[in-house]
């Protein structure tokens, strides 16, 4: 019998459900920042999220950052740069763009366990302005480093296999971008605000078969920050209350070459874990923030999270089903990574931020989902086609 089994027998509540609140959010308005440093952007988003919450930097006792925070021992360097001097908890988990969704879960765990009370999560970077830091050498590098796999072509391998197995079409994938563009037109900060059609997407240049230019997300400078805190502190503040009610994580790699399966993502495990902890079903979810590095990413994640049957993602995303006010499952109402923002090629934090805006009723009126009380946030980090981390959070308006 494990420790957790014993706790459950004793009736102890070992869930994070409702035990941590998101009290502050901030998305930097910049999409191109040649006049700022990356560390400065981290500080600016920290200031923004703390101001949104009604807290100060002196209240922070836990700090979360990931690979976008530059330098060796980055959580220590950034904490010191930001002037954080009473941390009780820190975490530099790097699962690519999904890191910040994982961080929300980790922060909730630490808060539920009483390890800290105000957690700051920051992301920032400038891929439009400077070359991202070189990828450190790992055990895979000798075998994979020379192959020229980058984001677009490794995700394209998944799309190719998905089309082969399920008959998914480029037109169906294009609907993901079309839906995002319908939302982005209302976001004054969005990198791309033009509404596009399925024809525009499939007629854009082929980047890596079968993905076209418009199947790919934007590349933007910028960043975002989130504050996670205790129920007591959240209730003492003036912002609408949003709490974390479920969280799940998983990873998927090449598994030594055994049973390679590029049409499923780690969402098949992180999703059920988050739903189960939250005690909600798909019918309860009013809005989803779904990682949209590429159109295929959205389609596969929606299938793997169970919003439709495996292989039916193409049909599910078609005909505006993801457009707020039009379809059944409004997604990425800020315009997402497809059109709004994908700071430092990591879209996790903006996914959390737009979900909180929706739950607060602070999304743009043209895209605000009516009675939005429960939202799901999901991300894939690393590469869907090589190895990736998945993180899911379920959030609720309290």
């Amino acid at each position: 019998m494990t420790g957790i089994d014993i706790l459950e027998l004793l009736g102890e509540n070992v869930t994070i459900r409702g035990r941590a609140y998101i009290a502050g959010i901030y998305e930097h308005p910049t999409r191109h920042a040649p006049d700022k440093s990356t560390a400065q952007l981290h500080a600016e988003v920290a200031r923004g999220a703390l101001a949104d919450a009604g807290l100060t930097i002196r209240d922070v006792d836990a700090y979360f950052c990931s690979g976008d925070a530059q330098g060796a021992l980055n959580s220590l360097v950034m904490a010191d740069y930001l002037g954080l001097n009473k941390l009780k908890h820190f975490d530099s988990t790097d699962v690519g763009g999904s890191s910040y969704i994982a961080h929300v879960g980790h922060a909730a765990e630490a808060i539920a366990a009483g390890k800290c009370s105000v957690a700051l999560i920051t992301l920032a970077g400038r891929p439009r302005t400077e070359t991202p830091q070189a990828r450190p050498v790992g055990p895979e590098t000798a075998f994979e480093g020379a192959l020229r796999g980058v984001a677009a072509n490794t995700y394209a391998m998944c799309a190719m296999r998905h089309m082969y197995e399920y008959g998914t079409t480029s037109e169906q994938l294009a609907w993901v971008k079309v839906a995002a563009s319908h939302h982005a037109q209302y976001n004054e900060h969005a990198f791309l605000r033009k509404v596009v059609t399925v024809e525009d997407v499939v007629n854009s240049p082929m980047v890596s078969d079968p993905l076209h230019r418009d199947d790919c997300c934007v590349v933007t400078d910028g960043g975002g920050a989130v504050i996670v805190t205790t129920p007591e502190i959240a209730k003492s503040l003036k912002r609408p209350l949003v709490r974390v009610i479920g969280h799940g994580e998983s990873q998927k790699g090449q598994n030594g070459g055994k049973d390679i399966d590029l049409t499923h993502s780690g969402a098949v495990r992180s999703g059920p874990a988050a739903f189960s902890e939250a005690g909600v079903t798909h019918q309860d979810i009013k809005y989803v923030s779904i990682y949209d590095s590429f159109t295929i990413t959205v389609l596969m994640q929606l299938e793997d999270l169970g919003f439709c049957k495996k292989g039916e993602g193409g049909k599910f995303v078609s005909d505006g089903n993801l457009i707020s006010g039009v379809g059944k499952l409004p997604f990425n109402t800020d315009g997402g990574g497809m059109c709004n923002n994908h700071p430092i090629n990591r879209g996790g934090i903006t996914k959390v931020i737009e979900a909180v805006r929706q739950l607060r009723g602070e999304a743009h009126p043209k895209v605000q989902v009516a009675n939005c009380n429960i939202a799901l946030v999901h991300g894939t980090g690393g590469s869907l086609g090589v190895r990736h981390g998945s993180a899911t959070c379920v959030l609720e308006r309290a």
């Binding site: 050498v137 980058v150 240049p205 980047v207 890596s208 030594g256 070459g257």
Partner: protein
């Protein structure tokens, strides 16, 4: 066809045998002494059970699991994909020395060694039926 020269692989104590064999035109994979499962890329300890592993020469034959053609890059168009080897493991690779328009899932491929900027060549795959 691109005359791209691949970046030099960096052998280490765990993988040196692989790269020495590659210089002799042999493509090695590994198999666990305990659970008998083959795997790739090669590890000293089995990724399925952490048992000790042995080197074994692969037939170098397989079929395309998936592929993509990257249309524009500083090194010209190239093809990335996965091959399922006759021995079992599915491996991440490039397709070379072939008409990219003829690539398709399920097509038979065979290993070819391409020169790198280092001493050892890199095992990649070409269409077998051309």
């Amino acid at each position: 066809m691109s005359d791209h020269k691949y970046a030099a692989p960096a052998p280490n104590a765990e993988t040196e045998v692989f790269w020495t064999a590659a210089k002799q035109g042999k493509f090695l994979i590994k198999r666990c002494k305990e659970c008998k499962e083959p795997h790739y890329f090669p590890r000293a300890l089995c990724p399925f059970c952490l048992g000790d592993t042995d080197w074994e020469e692969s037939s170098g034959e397989g079929v395309i699991y998936t592929y993509t053609i990257t249309r524009r890059s500083p090194t010209g168009p190239f093809s990335l994909g996965y091959v399922t080897l006759k021995e079992g493991p599915t491996i991440y690779t490039n397709f070379v020395d072939c008409d990219f328009d003829k690539l398709k899932i399920g097509a038979r491929v065979k290993v070819v060694f391409k020169e790198t900027e280092g001493e050892a060549p890199l095992p990649l795959f070409a269409l077998a039926d051309v």
